[in-house]
Amino acid sequence: MANKNKEALKQPMWVNNPVLVQILGICSALAVTAQLKPAIVMGLSVTIIVAMANVIISLLRNTIPNRIRIIIQLVVVAALVTIVSEILKAFAYDVSVQLSVYIGLIITNCILMGRLEAFAMQNGPWASFLDGIGNGLGYAAILVIVAFVRELFGSGTLFGFQIVPQCWYEAGYLNNGLMIMPPMALILVGCVIWFHRAKNKDLQEN
């Protein structure tokens, strides 16, 4: 049993990563990865919300009528996100301004619905909590990798601090404008998936 819980936490971090293998949450991965800071904030918020929603749905799983289960899951997620957003507005206004639209975007993040439907509906609260944390962190890891590359090559900064020295610019170095554009995020995610498939041969399709 303990082993199963460990798997629930560890699997989604790399082997069964929600972005790389399940191809979930791609849309938000494109939107928030132009800079590192929003990427990390988004990754952590999703982690917390998935874990909490997973626990709630897992506790309710035996009572939920089968025919309206998706709606129930959606209501739980939306209520949770709204409450978290209200609390942030009251007690951490700066963070809520930082998050601005992303906090609303969490509701539409398919990782949430995916995990609730695929895992929390069949498993106990503790395993579901770990599964939520694992998937959230797996998602956050990909966001950070993509944002790191995009911010470094697109703006020459990391966390807003200048990394590429001024003398490079004077010598003719230019920021890669394509990096900040959304299509580049897709290409980078593609590259990470390529690397991931090369390492995990059993995932390759013939």
Partner: protein
């Protein structure tokens, strides 16, 4: 009497009875090829509650909605006062940011010290006292033709701050522009946005962009001269032109339109330099 069902694994024939037939009547397969079908409906009612019935579903949905609604109302009501205070504080911080006072530890205190008055512009360009509550959105005030001007004092010099509202690429953008005593030289600006792309349009909120405004002129003759042009297109010697943000042409254009649209209404005030309110 409870009849069991047996299914032939070879051809799919279903036999009803107490035990499987010796040979399948369809394909002659032996008894070992039969397996018992356990009906799912037999397992469900043991919880004592049929979660698939219509009544249960409707009740569940109704109770769920009521609980969630009460929860949200409760959270929203208990936190409202704090949130409003935060918004007022944030608006004051934005106004002070136009005066290059950013990330202050005590916003309310500094605001009370620096900003002397919240005034309205009259048609002739003079300033009249404003007696209403402190506003946090100036879009509706602008639409009501309440043209606010904040009078501030920095290092013994009078500064005027004008709130602005406009549209970017994805949503609203807004800002504050601080002018020197001559009503036309830009002292500082502050821009923010609700949903512009980070790293592109979102860069209008960066100091790098906002610092380009200081020292520029707003009024050119009798109209607004200050313009934001495409990145790299600004004439270096110009008093009026400012480079936009790279890769964010539409948001930059939005900033330009916002400045033009709002400050146009303030022309009487901007050109009325003699009267020192």
């Amino acid at each position: 009497m409870a009849t069991k069902k047996f299914k032939c694994k070879v051809c799919g024939y279903v036999h009803e009875g107490d035990k499987a037939p010796e040979n399948c009547p369809m394909c002659q397969a032996p008894q070992s090829e039969f397996e018992e079908i356990i009906e799912e409906s037999a397992a469900a009612p043991k919880k004592g509650l049929n979660t698939n019935s219509n009544v249960y579903t409707i009740l569940y949905a109704a109770v769920m909605v009521i609980i969630v609604a009460f929860l949200l109302v409760f959270v929203s009501q208990t936190l409202k006062a704090r949130q409003d205070a935060n918004i007022v504080n944030d608006t004051k911080q934005q106004i002070l940011s136009a005066l290059n006072m950013r990330d202050l530890p005590d916003v309310a205190g500094t605001y009370a010290k620096v900003v002397k008055a919240d005034k309205l512009m009259k048609d002739n360009g003079e300033l009249a006292d404003y007696n209403g509550d402190f506003n946090t959105t100036y879009k509706s005030e602008f639409d009501k033709k309440n043209y606010h001007v904040f009078v501030a004092e920095v290092d013994g010099q009078t500064k005027y701050i004008i709130p602005m509202n406009g549209l970017g690429l994805w949503g609203t953008i807004w800002g504050y522009i601080a002018l020197n005593e001559d009503h036309t030289t830009v002292y500082g600006v502050y821009f923010s946005h609700s949903s512009e792309t980070p790293g592109l349009g979102g860069e209008i909120a960066s100091l790098k962009f906002q610092n380009r405004f200081a020292g520029k002129q707003v009024v050119d003759g009798n109209k607004v001269g200050l313009t934001v042009v495409k990145y790299g297109k600004a004439d270096k010697g110009s008093q009026f032109e400012i480079d936009g943000v790279t890769g964010a042409t539409i948001t930059s254009k939005g900033v330009n339109e916002m400045i033009g649209k709002v400050l146009e209404k303030y022309i009487p005030f901007l050109t009325n330099v003699e009267s020192n309110d």
